[in-house]
Amino acid sequence: MIPDLSAQAGIFGSAPSFFYTLALGLLIGSCASSTAGARFHCLLWIAVALCLELVQHRLIAEPLVAWLRERLSEPIWELVGPYWTRGTFDRLDLLASIIGGSIALLILTYRSGEKNHEK
């Protein structure tokens, strides 16, 4: 039986969050000078991604929008404002970011283990 992938739009709609966290996690981790540093920066990146998703939650977004609108200049608000005014908090995006970031963390750990083994 072939699964109906078109019916899974909710899951696949979170694919950008998954790949974005994974790719940036790998890039950031690979720029660190040590294995511990790679893990730290990858974890930090996951935390940043999760925070950015969480601030779309209505409870946070509402006061944040009121606060930012007064402080940001019009061109900057036009660029970043829609992230809160049009974006919606999505638990699947949150999950996708965690999974993507965890995979990046695993790859970085595995690669550093291989490097140590080669030495």
Partner: protein, 365 residues
């Protein structure tokens, strides 16, 4: 020295990557893409909900209907159903009103009618689609006054000739003649000789039908928004239909018109989720010379919501106001005055005007 330079480069690369990642997410606009609004299509069938709790603990949806000197009622609708839509014309027609829909109705004038709770107990089905009246359907009317039994009103076929052509009112004690043609049933509310049960039955059915109509009328503004017909401005003006009737009280301006204004509550300079709209009617006539409605006043549509999956609009409504706007999502009437025609003894006249106030939530999904 070389190590220091290398470390500096790494730190610079890390900083750039963090910035890139951070700004990349913010600039994504929360997942929306300008291009995704280009080829939106509506679904061929939607469930809908009219009424229910408003956002942020603002209470329940309430619609107040007032006809001075005749009746005044306040109803809290929580109505579900389905519509069938033509994907080309984007016109949707009522298909069902679903079981479980209910209305807590407060009939303040005339007081002798008392308050009633109305529950849709058997699905209303409109067949063929676009019919004015359903072929099947039952409501249960629960009078809140002590000692009054429930009343069942159902679409039926009393003479076994034309399914759905008649309405039966089942009460305790039973009515002497409990079966009515549609016209007879609808006129019970205006007939001074009607019994209390007949008045409650006719009023209740009319209230449910009226709320359904108002909700579906509100749904007709979605194409203005989805297709962004504002042409770079913030206001659309359109003329209404030409009135060619002869009754006094017709539109002072013929044809009248309406404006549909966009309020960019989300502050992103484009028509979309979070925004509000206001429709203002000025002597706006819908219908032909013998059957129609004259509208004056305004309707506010606050907190547009829209969900798109693969270019398909999977959710449309007025539910959640933009954060920081200080508004409450939903459709609210700003003293909207409706004057409807009525045909009695082959003479067309108008009923006294109805004034609508209140706010309700509406969503198609």
């Amino acid at each position: 020295m070389k190590n220091n330079a290398s470390r500096g480069l790494r730190n610079l690369a890390l900083t750039c990557l963090y910035l890139l990642g951070f700004l990349g997410i913010l600039a994504s606009g929360g997942g929306d893409d300008e291009d995704e609004f280009d080829d939106l299509i509506i679904s061929s069938i939607y469930s809908f909900r009219i009424g229910g709790p408003l956002e942020g603990g603002a209470g329940n949806s309430v619609i107040d209907i007032d006809r001075p000197g005749e009746f005044s009622l306040s109803t809290e609708p929580d109505l579900q159903g389905t519509v069938i839509c033509d994907q080309n014309t984007e016109i949707c027609e009522l298909q069902t009103v679903d079981v479980g829909s209910m209305f807590i109705t407060d009939l303040t004038v005339p007081a002798f009618l008392g308050n009633v709770n109305i529950l849709v107990e058997d699905m209303w089905i409109y067949n063929p689609i676009g019919s004015d009246r359903p072929n099947t359907g039952v409501i249960r009317i629960d009078p809140q006054a002590d000692g009054l039994a429930d009343i069942l009103v159902g679409v039926t076929d009393c003479d076994a000739n034309s399914p759905g052509a008649e309405v039966q009112v089942i009460a305790v004690p039973a009515l002497p003649n409990d079966c009515y043609s549609w016209d007879e049933f609808e006129n019970l509310a205006d007939n001074p000789g009607s019994s209390l049960v007949e008045l409650q039955a006719s009023f209740s059915w009319a209230a449910v039908s009226f709320i359904v109509d108002q909700g579906l009328d509100a749904g007709e503004v979605f194409p203005f928004i989805v297709d962004d017909l504002f042409a770079g401005g913030t206001s659309i003006f359109d003329s209404c239909e030409m009135f060619s009737g002869t009754w006094a009280g017709g539109p002072a301006v013929n044809p009248g018109g309406f404006t549909f204004d966009w309020l960019d509550d989300s502050g992103d300079n484009r028509v979309g989720p979070g925004d509000s709209f206001r429709q203002t009617f000025a002597d706006c006539w819908f219908g032909d010379s013998i059957d129609g409605t004259l509208l004056n006043g305004g309707i506010d549509y606050v907190g547009y919501t829209q969900v798109i999956q693969n270019e398909l609009l999977t959710r449309l409504g007025f539910e959640i106001a933009a954060p920081g706007s200080g508004k409450i999502g939903g459709v609210s009437f700003d003293s909207l005055v409706l004057t409807e025609t009525i045909k009695a003894n082959d003479i067309i006249t108008t009923e006294p005007p109805l004034t609508l106030t209140g706010r309700y939530l509406i969503v198609f999904f």
